[in-house]
């Protein structure tokens, strides 16, 4: 074992609602739990797509804002003291001596006695610009990792949502110039940010698309971009860097290649939530079986089923039925044992 090795009873891949409830449940069953997610924060689809919307279809909660719901799930899971490995992607899954070994993209190797996949619709990847892909890594990027990199640059930001506006807002005082290029007339992002970006003197080019990126490709020096307006008029503007903030598209990601039995965009499971691989379970929107309904309520039930089976797999002396959570101190006194 190296410093990059982690050992755990159960590794949960995906920190959305199903994974977080799974972390609670694993703790309730007395399992040492590790949760990995490619996103930097827990909450999955809820935080990515509707953090401010009201959720009304979870038992006993008449209505709750997305981000509050996630915070409550994290709090509930905290009783079992899970280890979070966030901002890291599970890249490979192998079996050593019958037990799963998962390697993350930062080199961390997780030795788990069981894995529960709760990665839902999968990994968000940036939507491509559609031109100038050869500049990726030099004159084109999909994220702003360090705003200072753009100091004294002419920056062109493409997109009309919150990311585009947030980055325009952040780079305004740092870059030599910021031009926001958006295909439509109106912006999707927050009105207050838009107002601030406009007030800062950012050039806003609406009803406009980027059609080419030009410069010294060999030297990695972008010089300008060609913009085409809806009318067909083209203009060339100076640009040292283009940031494409066109949103994200999700797909299964690396687990497509793990040898799991798949059905379209889903992982096939049996009624115990077992996948086709030993000691690998799945729950939530990721799974498929006849009659499947993709809802959080269903994911919660599935992950409880999965964790109870995991508990018995790892310790055959345990019973499938966990006992009742109403009993006192289910964690501290090894109540589930």
């Amino acid at each position: 074992m190296t410093s990059l090795d982690v050992s755990t009873d159960v590794l949960i891949v995906g920190a959305g609602p199903t994974g977080l409830y799974g972390a609670y449940y694993a703790g309730f069953r007395g399992l040492a739990t590790t949760v990995v997610d490619v996103l930097p924060k827990p909450g999955g689809q809820v935080m990515a797509l509707y953090p401010e919307k009201q959720i009304r279809d979870v038992a006993a909660i008449p209505a709750i804002r997305g981000r509050d719901f996630v915070a409550a799930l994290v709090e509930q899971a905290s009783a079992g003291k899970p280890t979070y490995l966030l901002g890291r992607q599970a890249v490979t899954l192998e079996h050593h001596d019958g037990e799963p070994v998962v390697t993350l993209d930062d080199g961390t190797v997780v030795h788990a006695r069981a894995v529960v996949l709760t990665s839902g619709i999968g990994m968000p990847t940036p939507r491509r610009l559609g031109c100038g892909e050869e500049w990726l890594g030099t004159g084109l990027s999909y994220f702003v990792i360090d705003p200072q990199v753009h100091a004294d640059q002419d920056v062109v930001i493409v997109g009309g949502g919150d990311s585009a506006l947030d980055w325009a807002d952040a780079l305004g005082p740092i870059a030599r110039s910021v031009t926001v290029v958006h295909r439509r007339a109106s912006f999707r992002g927050h009105a207050a940010t838009l107002e601030r970006v406009r007030a800062a003197g950012t050039r806003m080019r609406t009803d406009t698309q980027v059609v080419t990126l030009d410069g010294d490709l060999a030297a990695g020096r972008l010089a300008n971009v060609t913009l085409r307006e809806k009318s067909g008029d083209e203009t060339v503007v100076a640009a040292d860097h283009v940031i494409a903030a066109l949103g994200f598209v999700s797909d299964l990601g690396p687990l497509r290649d793990w040898g799991l039995q798949l059905r379209a965009r889903s992982v096939a499971v049996d009624r115990s939530m077992r996948t086709s691989l030993p000691r690998v379970y799945a729950a939530g929107d990721l799974t498929d079986y006849p009659g499947k309904v993709k809802l959080m309520s269903v994911g919660f039930g599935e992950v409880a089923t999965a964790m109870n089976h995991v508990a018995v797999d790892l310790d055959p002396d345990l019973t499938l039925f966990p006992g009742h959570s109403t009993e006192e101190g289910p964690y501290a006194e090894e109540g589930s044992r």
């Binding site: 689809q45 439509r184 999707r188 598209v249 965009r265």
Partner: protein, 117 residues
């Protein structure tokens, strides 16, 4: 459950829906876009984005005669061979990789220009 794009999209093709779809399940024909029901995760992001309000939830569309036709037609776009093609489009797993399909269903192709109004 899914969402359906109605006639209000025809010849408009604003594509704002495509920008917000988290699973890239909105495919462009020639004059109209189509949502792949098998790939749609029912998040509703596209519905509010459409400038012509062409996108409607399936459960609402079923109560409207014209939209019901588009619901059936949208399935046909993926499940039946399109004009000039031998095989159905199927579930391509993402419109971005596929590019514009460039062909409409017979129902949409036969719509008069200005059907969106």
């Amino acid at each position: 459950m899914t969402y359906v794009i109605g006639a209000a999209c025809v010849d408009v093709l604003d594509r704002s829906c495509i920008e917000v779809c988290p699973v890239d399940c909105i495919y462009v024909g020639e004059r109209k876009s189509y949502i792949n029901a098998a790939e749609c995760i029912d998040c509703g992001a596209c519905e509010v984005e459409c400038p012509t309000e062409a996108i409607v939830a399936e459960r609402k569309a079923r109560k409207d005669e014209a939209l019901s036709l588009h619901l059936v037609d949208s399935r046909a776009f993926f499940e039946q061979p399109l004009p000039g093609r031998d095989a159905p489009l199927g579930n391509a797993g993402g419109a971005q990789h596929l590019g514009d399909v460039g062909v409409d269903t017979p129902l949409v192709a036969a719509l008069a220009p200005g059907s969106a109004q």
